[in-house]
Amino acid sequence: MANVYTELKTPTTGAYKQPTGLFINNEFVEGVEKKTFEVINPATEEVICSVHEATEADVDIAVKAARDAFEGPWRQVTPQQRGNLLLKLADLIEKNLELLASVESLDNGKSITMARGDVGAVAGCIRYYGGWADKIEGKTIDIAPDMFHYTRLEPIGVCGQIIPWNFPLLMLGWKIGPALATGNTIVLKTAEQTPLSGLVFAQFVKEAGFPPGVLNIISGFGKTAGAAISSHMDIDKVAFTGSTVVGRTIMKAAAASNLKKVTLELGGKSPNIVFNDADIEQTISWVNFGIYFNHGQCCCAGSRIYVQSGIYDKFVAAFKKRAEQNKVGDPFHPETFQGPQVSQLQYDRIMGYIESGKQEGATVETGGARHGDKGYFIQPTIFTNVRPEMKIMQEEIFGPVCAIAKFDTEEEVLQMAHDTIYGLASAVHTKDLNTAIRVANSLRAGTVWVNCYNLLSHQLPFGGYAQSGIGRELGEEALANYTQHKSVAIRLGGPLFG
C-alpha cells in the first residue's frame, strides 16, 4: 500500500490524518515518477510534511479518468442527482468545518477565524450551485410554423482548473460548483504553496457519492503540471485564477494546443475612492479591511486609496491609527487578524516593493518592515506622497501595503482610478445617492463596492475588466463558463428545394 497519508497536528484539532497522494478516480495514489515536494508552515518557516507531486504523466492519467467518467457514468446522472450530490457535499463540508479550517490556517497562515469564514463560504457556494443543477434550461424559439427550434445547454467536457494559494478552499469551491452542477468532469491542480486542504476536502467528495473520475485533485507545480493541463489535447476547457503573467502563458498554451476554452481571473490594483462626504469612521473600517484582509493577498485588494482633498489629512491620520491596531501574529490565536504571508518568495517580493516605494520617494506613514523575527510576517504598511507612475502604484504587490493619493474632483479621480492595466474591483465611499450610482456606473471594474469593501457572495458575479481577466465567476453567470449551446432545428414540413 503506497504511503499516501501522514499524521499531522493542529492546535485546534489535535492529531488528524492528512492525505498526501494525488486524488484520482476517488483514490489517493503516488505520482508515476514518485516525486514529492515539501509544504512549509509560513508562521514558523518549518516543514509541515511532504506531498506527492503530479508531473505530466499524472496529468495524463487524471485526464483519462475525467474523460472516462464524462463519457460514462457521469452522463447517466440526472441534473437533479448532480444537484443532490453537491448538496450532500455542502453538508459534509459544514460537518467538517473545524478540520478544514484548521488545515487551511496551518498551510496558508490565515487566522483560524478567517479560515472558518472561508470554509462556511465554501459550503454556501457548493450548496448554491447544487440548487442550480436542475434549473439549467435551454429555450424553444418560435421561428416558423413548419419548424421546431430549440437550444440545449450542454456541459463542455473535461475541465482543467488551476487555483491559487490565497484562498485554497474557497477558490476550489468557486471552481467546482458551477462545473459539476452543469455536468462537467474536472482535473483540478492546487497551488504548490498550499496543497493540504484540497486533499482533506477530496475525502468528502468520495464520501458524498460522486462517481470516480468526476473530480480529480492533484498537487503540483505550475511549470510542470499546470503547463501540462493548459496544453493538454484532451482537456476541453481551462479555468485559472492567479497572476496576470501566468494567465497570459495559459492562454497562449491553450491557443497553441487545441483552442480549449479559457476563463481567467487575474490580478488587480483596485482603486478605493473616498469622497468628502463619506462617513469617516465607517469608511476607515472598510478601507482597512479592503487592504489588510487576508494579509493583502486578495486579487481585489483596495491597494490604491484616493481621498478627496477636503478630508485628506483627517483621513490619513485616522487610517494610520487604525492600521496600527491590526493584530498581527499566530494564526491560531483567536484575536489574530493578520497572519504571515504565504511563503518566503512572497515575503521577499513584498519587501522588494516596500524598498522600491521608499527609493522612489514615497513616504512611509506606518509599517514598512518585518513583524517579529520568525515567520513571513510584514507590518501593515501605508505609503503617502505617491506619484501615479511609481511601481507601488502600478504593480500588484499582493501584501499588506497600500498607497494613498489625494484628489479634488470626480473627473480627476476617475482618470486616476483608470490609470492601470487592471480592472478587477473598486469602491466608492459617499453619502450622496447619485454620486454613488454615477461613479459606480463609470468605473471600469468588474465589481464596485459602495460604502463597503471585499464583501462577496456566491450569488453575485465576480471577475475583471481589462487585464484582470476573462469571464465571470459566481452567480448565474458562472454557469456560462461551463456550458455550450447547441441549437436544434427540426423541419416539420417537406422539402424547400427541388
Binding site: 448538496l87 450548496r127 440548487g131 436542475d134 445617492l433 450610482i437
Partner: protein, 495 residues
C-alpha cells in the same frame, strides 16, 4: 391535541388533531370537529378540529405578523432556501409514517404513497429551496438620466386551499414556491383528507420555520375556505379543486380584488393515431385514467382512437386494465387501485356510470361497485366504448376510474374533437411520426401535452390549464411568478 394511531401495516404515530397556528396546535374556537373516514373500511379514523371564521382570523393574523417579523422578513434567500432543504430532509426521514397516513386517509396504495407521493414532496421542497436565492430582478438601461431596476417582492399572506386527491403533493406544490419567495401561508386542507399534513406540520416547526410562517388548518370549504378567500388581510389566494368551486372562489375574491391562481378540472383527451405503438398507448392510457383511482385533474378520460385501429386498441386497453388494475386493500403490496376517497365521490362516480349506460354507450368493461371484503368505496375500472361526443360521460369530469372511448377518421377531426371542451388542462397523443407529434401538440388547446405518454408531470415543468381548467401556472420556474410582486424602482440620476 393528538391521538395515538396504529395502521394496518403496524406503523404507530401520534396524530395531531388541532389547527396548526404559530407553530402550535390549538382547538377550534367553538371546539367543532370534523371526522376523517377510512374509505377502505368506511370507519372513522379520528376527528380533527375544524376552523371557524374566527380561527381563520387568528391564523391570518399570525401569518401577517410573521410576514413582518425580522425572523422571516430579514432572512436572505439563501437562508430561506436552507430551511426548505432542511424540511425536505425531514420529510424524507419520516417517509414511511407519512405514506401510511396518506394511505389510511385517502385510500391510495401505500406503495404509491411511499415511492411517488412522498418523494414528490421532498423533490419539490428541495427544488424551490434551491430557487430561493436565484429569483432575480432586472436592471434596465434607459439611459444615464435614470437608474431603473426591478425587485421581486413576496406578496404577503397567501391563502392556499388544496384538494383531497394528492393531499401531500398538493401541499408541497403550494408551499414550495410561496415560501421560496418569502410569503407566509394559511393552508386549508381538504375536509376529506385532513391528516397527513397535520403530521408534516411538526416537521415544519422542527426545520426551524419561525412561528406563523406556515399555518395549516382543517375546516369546511363553505366556512373556513370562504372566510379565507374573503379575508381583507389575505393578499393572494391559490386554489386547486373543481371548476365549480373555482368559479365561486373567483367571485368571492373579486370583492377585495385578490390576486388569484386556480387549478381546476379537466376532461383531457388522449389521441391514438393510426401509426401509434399500440402497446405503449395502452400502457399509458391505463396510467392516464386508472391511476390514483381515476381521481386526477389531468386524467386523460376521453380517449380518441383512429377508426382503423379502434377495436385492436380497445382490446389491448382492456387487457392492460385487467392485468394491472388489481383492486384491494391499499395496504396490500399487490393493490393497484384502492377505494374512492369518500362515499360522496363513490356515489357520484357510480351515478355517471349509470348515466353512461342510459345514454347508450357500450359498457366495455366494469361498470359497477366492487366492495372488498364487503366494504369500502371501491369501483371496478370501467370503460365505455362507442361513445358519442354529445354524451355526458364524454363532456363532464367524472373523477373516477371510468374512461370514454370515441373514434375519429382524420387528424383534423381528432384535433377538433380534442378541443371541443370547456376544459383545457392536459392532453396526450400517440404517434411515431415526428412531424405529426409536434404539429398536433401545437394545435391542441391545453396547458400541457404529453407525446407518447400521459400524466407524466414533472415538478420542474410548468403545470396548469387554459380555458376553464384554470388561471396561472404551477411548478418549474413559472411557479414563482404567481408568488412575487415585481416592483419597479426609478432613481432619477438627472436630479
Amino acid at each position: 391535541m393528538e391521538v395515538d394511531l396504529t395502521a394496518p401495516n403496524g406503523r404507530k404515530w401520534a396524530q395531531p388533531l388541532g389547527l396548526f397556528i404559530n407553530n402550535e396546535f390549538v382547538k377550534s374556537s367553538n371546539e367543532q370537529k370534523l371526522a376523517s373516514i377510512n374509505p377502505t373500511t368506511e370507519e372513522e379514523i379520528c376527528s380533527v378540529y375544524a376552523a371557524t371564521s374566527d380561527d381563520i382570523d387568528t391564523a391570518v393574523a399570525a401569518a401577517r405578523k410573521a410576514f413582518r417579523d425580522p425572523s422571516w422578513k430579514s432572512l436572505s434567500g439563501t437562508e430561506r432556501g436552507a430551511l426548505m432543504l432542511k424540511l425536505a430532509d425531514l420529510v424524507s426521514q419520516h417517509a414511511e409514517t407519512l405514506a401510511t397516513i396518506e394511505c389510511l386517509d385517502n385510500g391510495k396504495p401505500y406503495t404509491t404513497a411511499l415511492t411517488e407521493n412522498v418523494p414528490e414532496v421532498v423533490n419539490v421542497f428541495r427544488y424551490y429551496g434551491g430557487y430561493a436565492d436565484k429569483n432575480f430582478g432586472q436592471v434596465i438601461d434607459v439611459g444615464p438620466a435614470k437608474f431603473a431596476y426591478t425587485v421581486k417582492e413576496p406578496l404577503g399572506v397567501c391563502g392556499q386551499i388544496i384538494p383531497w386527491n394528492y393531499p401531500l403533493d398538493m401541499a408541497a406544490w403550494k408551499l414550495g414556491p410561496a415560501l421560496c419567495c418569502g410569503n407566509t401561508v394559511v393552508l386549508k386542507l381538504a375536509e376529506q383528507t385532513p391528516l397527513s399534513m397535520l403530521y408534516l406540520a411538526n416537521l415544519i416547526k422542527e426545520a426551524g420555520f419561525p412561528p406563523g410562517v406556515v399555518n395549516i388548518i382543517n375546516g369546511y370549504g363553505r366556512e373556513a375556505g370562504a372566510a379565507l378567500v374573503q379575508h381583507p388581510q389575505v393578499d393572494k389566494i391559490a386554489f386547486t379543486g373543481s371548476t365549480a368551486t373555482g368559479k365561486e372562489i373567483m367571485k368571492l375574491a373579486s370583492a377585495t380584488m385578490k390576486n388569484i391562481t386556480l387549478e381546476t378540472g379537466g376532461k383531457s383527451p388522449l389521441i391514438v393515431f393510426e401509426d401509434a405503438d399500440l402497446d405503449l398507448a395502452a400502457t399509458w392510457s391505463h396510467i392516464g385514467i386508472m391511476s390514483n383511482q381515476g381521481q386526477i385533474c389531468t386524467a386523460t378520460s376521453r380517449i380518441l382512437v383512429h377508426e382503423n385501429i379502434y377495436d385492436k386498441f380497445t382490446e389491448k386497453f382492456k387487457a392492460k386494465i385487467q392485468q394491472l388494475s388489481v383492486l384491494g386493500d391499499p395496504f396490500e403490496k399487490t393493490t393497484f387501485q384502492g377505494p374512492q376517497v369518500t362515499k360522496q365521490q363513490y356515489e357520484r362516480v357510480l351515478s355517471y356510470i349509470n348515466i353512461g349506460k342510459e345514454e347508450g354507450a357500450t359498457l366495455f368493461l366494469g361498470g359497477e361497485a366492487a366492495p372488498q371484503k364487503g366494504k369500502g368505496f371501491f369501483i371496478a375500472p370501467t370503460v365505455f366504448t362507442n361513445v358519442k361526443t354529445t354524451m355526458k360521460i364524454y363532456r363532464e369530469e367524472i373523477f373516477g376510474p371510468c374512461a370514454a372511448v370515441a373514434s375519429f377518421k382524420t387528424e383534423e377531426e381528432a384535433i377538433e374533437m380534442a378541443n371541443d371542451s370547456t376544459y383545457g388542462l392536459g392532453a396526450a397523443l400517440f404517434t411515431k411520426d415526428l412531424n405529426r407529434a409536434h404539429r398536433v401538440a401545437r394545435e391542441i388547446e391545453a396547458g400541457m401535452v404529453w407525446i407518447n405518454s400521459s400524466n407524466d408531470a414533472d415538478f420542474r415543468v410548468p403545470f396548469g390549464g387554459v380555458k376553464q381548467s384554470g388561471i396561472g401556472r404551477e411548478l418549474g420556474e413559472a411557479g414563482l411568478a404567481p408568488y412575487c410582486n415585481v416592483k419597479a424602482i426609478h432613481v432619477n440620476m438627472a436630479a
